[in-house]
C-alpha cells in the first residue's frame, strides 16, 4: 500500500458512551427526570498545539522533551496523576498500588496474561514509575529473527539506527553499569557510572554461575550509583539500596520519566496535563487528525493539534485506535501481541539474604543470548530478582497453593529465599491478539481483551531456561526449588514495518494511513527482543521525534 496518499474516510465521533450500571440504568428509565441540557458542542479551545502527546511513559516522555527543545508548542495528556515521589511514595506495597493501571482488562487464551502490577502503570511517568530499571541494549541480531531463523519479522532497520540513541540515553539518564560490557558489539562509550552493589540474590547467582562456567556481570541499571547532574533537572541523589524500585522510587535515584525527560520537557516549555483520559480522536474529511477529546475530572474537553503522538502503551494504544476506527487498514492493530517468556525460579538458602535490601535489578548474564544447545529460535537473558513480601506471597499461593499454617511456615523463610528469572524472545502468533470486548468499563467504553497462548517456541525456551536456572540454584546451595511460570510486558500490538500491508506504522513511527499520526511505545516493536524493553522504547522515542523534525524541516524548505 502506498504511503500517505491513501486516506481513510473521516470518522468523526464513532464512540457512544452508555450507562453500564444496571441499577442506574433502571433508575434512569423509570424516572421522568429530564437531564440538564448538555451544551451541544464541547467548547473549542482557541489554541491549537503543534504536537499533542498521549501518555508520558517510556514512549511519550523522551519525544515530548525532544519536540519541546526544538521550539514546538507541545502538550502531553496523561490519564494518571502527577505524584511527588518524596512525599507521596511510601515503603508499603499495598499503599503504592495507585501506580498501576488497575482498570479491568480481560485476559483470555491458554496462558492468560496477568495485568495490574505485573504489567502496566499510570501516572506522569507511566510504567517507568515502577520499572525495575534494568536497561540492557538490544543485540544487533535481535532485530533480525526472520533473517537468522526464518520466523517472526525483522525490524525495518538495523542496530546502527539505535546505537547512538542508546549511547545518548545511557549518558542522559545516568545509567550505572560495567565498562566494558561483556556482551554485544564493542561500544564507543562506556556507562557514565560504575555498577550498583549486588543484593543477596545477585551474589548467590554470581557464585553459582562462576562454578558452572556461566559469565555474569552487574547489570546496566538506570538507578544512580553516584550523584548525577542532569540538564533541566539538576542534581539527582544516588540510590540508597532501599530495594523498592517496583513500587516507586522515593529518592529520585531511579531514572523514571518524571525525574528525567519530563522536567526537561517542562523546562523547554512543554505542558503536561495529568488526570486527562483521552477517549476520542477527531479527524477532518481528509482523514487527518485534528484533535482529541478527553476527560479531566469528569469534564469533557477538547484539544486541537497539528500532529498527534499516541504513546499510551501496548494495550491502550491499540484500544484507542480500535475505538476510533483509526489507522486500521493493515488489519494489524491489536495483532502480533507478544509477551516475554519470563519464568522465575525460587529457592531457600542457609544464608541470611534479607531480600528487602539492594536494588532488585542486580546481576545479568547474556550467555544464553544464542544458546548452542537451543531447540528454539532466538534466546534469552538471565537476571537476579528482588522480592517484596506482598507480591511474593501472592505468587507463592498461586503457584504452590499453600494456605493457612503451611503458608505461614513457608513465608517464615522470607529472609532465606531468593530468585532468578529470564526474559526471552516471543514470536507473533495469529491467536495472540487484543480486541475490544462487549463488556464496558466504568466510562462506558469497551474493555480490552487480550488473548495469549505460549506456542512451541516459547514453551521450549521456558523449559530450557527452567532447567538451567534449577541447576544454578542447586549449585548455589538452594533447597525447596520451585518455578513460577509467567509472561512479562505487552508488546507488538501496532507494529512497525516497511509496508502498510502488514504493519501499522512505518520505520519512522508514522501511521501508514494517517499522515499526521505517530505512535511510539511498546506496541510498535516488530519483534519482542531478548532484553528488557524500556531502553529501546526510549531510543525509538527519540528517533521518532528526530524523524518527525527532519520531515518538518524538509517540508519547510
Amino acid at each position: 500500500m502506498p504511503d500517505e496518499e491513501v486516506i481513510e474516510e473521516g470518522v468523526l465521533n464513532p464512540l457512544k458512551q452508555e450507562v453500564q450500571d444496571p441499577l442506574l440504568k433502571q433508575i434512569m428509565q423509570e424516572s421522568t427526570f429530564e437531564p440538564e441540557p448538555q451544551p451541544a458542542e464541547i467548547p473549542l479551545p482557541t489554541d491549537e498545539v503543534d504536537c499533542l502527546v498521549i501518555g508520558t511513559g517510556a514512549g511519550g516522555a523522551p519525544l515530548l522533551a525532544r519536540l519541546a527543545m526544538a521550539g514546538l508548542k507541545v502538550v502531553a495528556l496523561e490519564a494518571g496523576p502527577w505524584h511527588d515521589p518524596k512525599t507521596d511514595f511510601a515503603t508499603d506495597e499495598k499503599a503504592q498500588e495507585f501506580l498501576f493501571w488497575n482498570d479491568e482488562r480481560l485476559s483470555a487464551g491458554k496462558d492468560p496474561v496477568a495485568f495490574g502490577k505485573n504489567n502496566s502503570g499510570t501516572g506522569v511517568g507511566g510504567s517507568t514509575l515502577h520499572y525495575t530499571a534494568y536497561t540492557p541494549r538490544a543485540h544487533p541480531d535481535d532485530l533480525h529473527l526472520n533473517r537468522d531463523f526464518g520466523v517472526g519479522v525483522d525490524w525495518p532497520f538495523g542496530y546502527e539506527e539505535l546505537e547512538s540513541y542508546y549511547e545518548e540515553l545511557e549518558h542522559f539518564l545516568g545509567i550505572s553499569g560495567p565498562t566494558p560490557y561483556p556482551w554485544g558489539p564493542t561500544r564507543r562509550r562506556g556507562y557514565p557510572l560504575a555498577p550498583l552493589p549486588l543484593n543477596g540474590a545477585a551474589q548467590l547467582m554470581e557464585r553459582a554461575c562462576q562454578q558452572l562456567g556461566i559469565q555474569t556481570s552487574p547489570a546496566a541499571n538506570a538507578a544512580l550509583s553516584a550523584r548525577y547532574y542532569q540538564e533541566g533537572v539538576g542534581w539527582r541523589e544516588a540510590c540508597t539500596n532501599r530495594g523498592f524500585c517496583q513500587a516507586g522510587c522515593s529518592t529520585g535515584a531511579k531514572a523514571s520519566m518524571d525525574v528525567t525527560f519530563l522536567p526537561l520537557a517542562v523546562a523547554h516549555g512543554a505542558e503536561i496535563r495529568p488526570n486527562c483520559f483521552v477517549t476520542e480522536i477527531e479527524r477532518d474529511e481528509q482523514g487527518r487528525v485534528t484533535g482529541v477529546v478527553y476527560e479531566h475530572n469528569g469534564i469533557t474537553q477538547r484539544q486541537q493539534c497539528r500532529h498527534l503522538f499516541i504513546c499510551a502503551g501496548a494495550v491502550e494504544t491499540p484500544r484507542l485506535l480500535l475505538l476510533n476506527e483509526l489507522a486500521l487498514s493493515s488489519g494489524h492493530v491489536g495483532r502480533n501481541f507478544m509477551a516475554h517468556p519470563g519464568v522465575q525460579v525460587w529457592g531457600t538458602f542457609p544464608e541470611d539474604i534479607r531480600p528487602y535490601k539492594g536494588i532488585p535489578g542486580g546481576l545479568i548474564s547474556e550467555d544464553t543470548h544464542r544458546p548452542p544447545d537451543a531447540d528454539f529460535a532466538g534466546g534469552y537473558l538471565l537476571q537476579s530478582i528482588g522480592m517484596m513480601p506482598v507480591t511474593f506471597a501472592g505468587q507463592v499461593v498461586r503457584e504452590r497453593k499453600l494456605w493457612g499454617a503451611k503458608l505461614r511456615e513457608y513465608m517464615r523463610n522470607y529472609n532465606h529465599i531468593a530468585g532468578i528469572n529470564i526474559l526471552g524472545d516471543c514470536l507473533p502468533h495469529a491467536d495472540n491478539f487484543l480486541e475490544l470486548a462487549e463488556e464496558k468499563d466504568a466510562r462506558g467504553l469497551p474493555k480490552p481483551r487480550l488473548h495469549f497462548t505460549n506456542h512451541e517456541n516459547e514453551i521450549r525456551m521456558n523449559r530450557h531456561a527452567e532447567q538451567l536456572m534449577r541447576r544454578i540454584w542447586e549449585t548455589a546451595g538452594a533447597t525447596d526449588i520451585w518455578a513460577f511460570p509467567r509472561s512479562a510486558h505487552v508488546i507488538g500490538t501496532a507494529r512497525m514495518g516497511l509496508s502498510g500491508d502488514d504493519a501499522v506504522v512505518n520505520s519512522d513511527g508514522r501511521a501508514f494511513d494517517v499522515p499526521n499520526l505517530y505512535i511510539c511505545d511498546n506496541s510498535v516493536f516488530p519483534s519482542a527482543l531478548s532484553v528488557n524493553p524500556a531502553l529501546t522504547i526510549m531510543a525509538l522515542s527519540l528517533r521518532t521525534a528526530d524523524k518527525f523534525l527532519e520531515s518538518e524541516r524538509r517540508r519547510d524548505n
Binding site: 544464608e351 534479607r354 506471597a393 525447596d480
Partner: protein, 94 residues
C-alpha cells in the same frame, strides 16, 4: 457439608471445607455456577496479599524493609545492620 454455618465449624472442619473448595470438589449448588478452583485462587491471592501487607505479619517473617529511610549499606550475605533484627530462625525450613 457439616450442615452448619461455616463460622460455627471447628477450625479443622473449616480447613477441610476450604481444602475441598480449592480442589474443586466442594458439594453444594453454589459451586455449580462458580469455578471453585479459580475462585479459591483469586480469593486466596487477594487475602494473602492483604495479610502480608500488615506490619505484624511482616514482623512474623522478619521483614523490616520499611525501615529504609536512611538507606542500606550492608548488603552482603549474612551481613546485618545494627537496626536489623536477628534472624527469626537460624535454620531455614524449620
Amino acid at each position: 457439608m457439616f450442615q452448619q454455618e461455616f463460622r460455627v465449624l471447628t477450625s479443622d472442619e473449616q480447613a477441610s471445607v476450604l481444602q475441598l473448595v480449592q480442589e474443586g470438589k466442594a458439594p453444594g449448588e453454589a459451586w455449580e455456577t462458580v469455578p471453585a478452583e479459580r475462585f479459591f485462587e483469586e480469593m486466596l491471592a487477594e487475602l494473602t496479599e492483604l495479610y502480608y501487607a500488615h506490619p505484624l505479619a511482616q514482623e512474623e517473617i522478619g521483614y523490616v524493609g520499611m525501615a529504609d529511610a536512611t538507606g542500606w549499606t550492608r548488603l552482603g550475605l549474612n551481613e546485618l545492620e545494627p537496626r536489623e533484627p536477628e534472624a527469626i530462625s537460624s535454620q531455614p525450613g524449620l
